[in-house]
């Protein structure tokens, strides 16, 4: 078994907000008809979370379920548990038109912490971060790469992007969070 490492292995930057690579995070893409009961049940079994509505992310005992598009969910679970979750969900959705893939190692996750975490992301993305509340998920872009983000709480934004652009994303966030770069000073 290879030793799984995250893209930037917990890189940290401290500016007026803290930018931290979140380390290993289990992520599963689930595609299918989101109105189906079987899929809602599989989501519940995998994460403990309810089926999220449009643009929402829900939290359960074992993880989160985020709405990515009308037929796609992002399940965020423990990294080590992800292969088993995929196996269980594939089994329970065998008769359902669906697709379940473990994408944990294809992605990178960053946490932006601080009162101005919304501003750091607003500098980089066209999304209206002021209207974002915990429980909402927005798929958009940061500078030149696609990314999705949600708020864990009012002071913590979590940003997900592809692993291949992890360094780029970290550099962007770190630059946006640099001391002296506060908005409205």
């Amino acid at each position: 078994m290879s030793n799984a490492v995250s893209a930037l292995q917990g890189a940290l930057y401290k500016g007026y907000c803290t930018v931290e690579e979140a380390g290993l995070v289990g992520m599963i893409t689930l595609r299918g008809d989101l109105s189906s009961d079987a899929i809602a049940k599989a989501v519940k079994a995998a994460t403990g979370a309810e089926m999220p509505g449009q643009g929402k992310i829900t939290e359960g005992a074992k993880g989160r379920a985020g709405w990515m598009s009308p037929d796609e969910l992002l399940l965020i679970v423990d990294h080590a548990a992800a292969p088993k979750v995929v196996e269980a969900a594939s089994k329970s959705l065998a008769d359902e038109h669906s697709l379940i893939v473990n994408v944990s190692d294809a992605r990178a996750v960053f946490r932006v912490k601080g009162a101005a975490c919304r501003e750091v992301i607003a500098k980089l993305s066209p999304a209206d971060t002021a209207v974002m509340q915990p429980g909402m998920l927005r798929r958009t872009r940061v500078a030149q790469i696609p990314a999705a983000f949600y708020l864990e709480d009012d002071q913590t934004a979590v940003l997900v992007c592809f692993r291949s652009v992890a360094q780029y994303a970290f550099d962007l966030l770190a630059d946006a969070a640099r001391d002296g770069g506060e908005v409205g000073v």
Partner: protein, 107 residues
Amino acid sequence: MLILECPYCGVMADETDLHGGGEAHLKRFGPGSSDDDFETYLFHRANPKGVHFERWRHVSGCGKWFHAARNTMTLEVYGTYSAQTYEPPKAIINAVKKKHPEWEGYE
């Protein structure tokens, strides 16, 4: 800056979140059609000064294609709607007609 509401995500996505797909509601003429029809389908595009129906893709969001009715002169947006339709829905047509009673209508 052009801002369109993605009918799938429900978010106001700006132009940089989107990718333009050209004229909407084209009818395909494939194998077996006349050369004239095929040429029209491939190359002839409306380029109106005014009301225009276009395809857009929410490329860095949900990745879905949708349709938008907008004005190429004023950049006013009359509405966006699902791509799973052959012609603009009534509500969109009415929204355009309300603003431009003289508009000759869709095709």
